[in-house]
Symmetry: C2
Subunit: 294 residues, 2 copies
């Protein structure tokens, strides 16, 4: 029987140790590095890095060191949170139970820490010491830059802000989330799969998996913002309706939103049915998404 | 006789056309792309891209298409300006004679447009369509990520903000500028040189050139902030002393600052004396830096 909790703990520790090492590569102490470290080590669940690692091992259990790529992905994710939390954006004071970066430091430092984490991701990905073939290494950079860039995650965030003043249709909301959250989640799975030399078929199946859990993740985020426990969530609830955000519970009701998330997860699990038990972590992550309470 | 004005015009047009094409690669119209386009096309002098192109042709007049790399560098430079101008940073309303990005759009859009330009740079650099050898392409990505990242440009900007509350020594100010401005200028020259297959000796000489003009550029920027014509500069003057910034005129006086800039440029020109007349653009750019009035 696959022990998901234990698996997550092990992978999270690997990611955290590697991230610490990456930040400590110079002895330099600076306000900038402190702010980057603060947000990077603020207790994130490391879903994206673990997805990258798990996709790789689902394809190929010969050891492939995807950890640097997984950590670069977490740097990109953390930068996006720091900037999203800024007063000019979502104006959040609390993240994962702690003051957000601009509250713990200041706005200028938070903007720069975000910029620095984004750039650091590409330093990590282009590192000479990585053992991937150069063409493969370039492909990973391309996948992540595309997912995080102006035709992916950032466009999603822009649309999220723009849509605060008007009601979206369900397909518009879905497209928004596919950009804002889905693109980087898909890229995480895709990067892991490609590094493990997945076939085109496997890539395709994992892509369906990623798109479904990406959307499920966001639907559940919306649900938790309505009915979650702020203590467990480590952030305020009810903020979406305060900001008049477009959410699934707001659009289709709480019950149908929860049902939609369950359907998406089921679809995700079915899409990797041709994989053997090495895909257990991927199946467990999908199920965890609808079960989570924070 | 080398016609610097004509040369700059030709190169600027090439860069502008390529940047326009890069932004138009999808037909998508969005607020995000409009803001990116607005700042990218706000009349920048394209010094860094032209340095990249000129370094390549100084080494090798066989045609090497460095234009995509030159444009990626301009994206990185423009993102840094957008974020520097934000209210939480330098709080500038005018840049190159026009409202800054957050004034023309809003703060959230400006933050995202900056993020998007930085990420777009790495999309451009990792593009499959580039004809460089994969190892070389990776090296260019590494050089630019290092120069722009938390141990380069962003650390320089952090120190610039931190130093507003205390007086720096001359060597501290120099180190700050080497990070904030020098790192990306050096990377521009270095990237061009490497793409043109410069020898180690040539790289070394071009590196000395770049470091000297990078610092000269900043010293003259400080000088122009004291005595420049706001109409020609396209931005306010006297803002440095308002913000109690550490500047060369403030630290060593206006006359010695101008003398220092001339010395740096002379050193830069001497450092490329072993190059033939294909290095005329580099020499002309160095001389332009101390002559410029905006």
């Amino acid at each position: 029987m696959f022990d998901f909790k234990k698996y997550m703990k092990i992978q999270q520790r690997r990611v955290n140790e590697k991230l610490t090492a990456l930040l400590a590569k110079t002895r330099q102490k600076s306000r900038l590095l402190s702010a980057m470290h603060y947000s990077l080590m603020a207790g994130g669940k490391r879903i994206r890095p673990v997805l990258c690692i798990s996709a790789a091992s689902a394809v190929n259990d010969t050891y492939v060191d995807v950890l640097p790529v997984a950590c670069a992905i977490e740097c990109i994710h953390t930068y996006s949170l720091i900037h999203d939390d800024l007063p000019a954006m979502d104006n959040d004071d609390i993240r994962r139970g702690n003051p957000t970066c601009h509250k713990a430091f200041d706005e200028a430092t938070a903007i720069l820490a975000g910029d620095a984490l984004l750039t650091l991701a590409f330093e990590i990905l282009s590192d000479k010491a990585l053992s991937y073939l150069p063409d493969l290494q370039l492909e990973i950079i391309r996948i992540l830059a595309n997912a995080a860039g102006p035709f992916g995650m950032i466009e999603g965030q822009m649309r999220d802000i723009e849509s605060e003043t008007r009601q979206l249709k369900e397909n518009e909301l879905e497209h928004l989330h596919n950009l804002k959250t889905g693109a980087l989640i898909s890229a995480s799975v895709n990067a892991g799969a490609i590094l493990a030399k997945a076939t085109k078929d496997q890539q395709q199946q994992l892509n369906v998996y990623a798109q479904n859990i990406g959307l499920a993740f966001q639907v559940i985020d919306d649900v938790l913002n309505v009915k979650g426990d702020p203590k467990r969530l480590g952030k305020a609830v009810g903020t979406d309706s305060d900001l008049q955000k477009n959410t699934y519970p707001g659009l289709i009701g709480l019950d149908r939103a929860e049902e939609k998330a369950r359907d998406l997860v089921q679809h995700a699990v079915e899409s990797v049915q041709n994989f053997d038990n090495r895909a257990e972590p991927l199946r467990a992550i999908a199920n965890y998404i609808v079960r989570r309470d924070h």
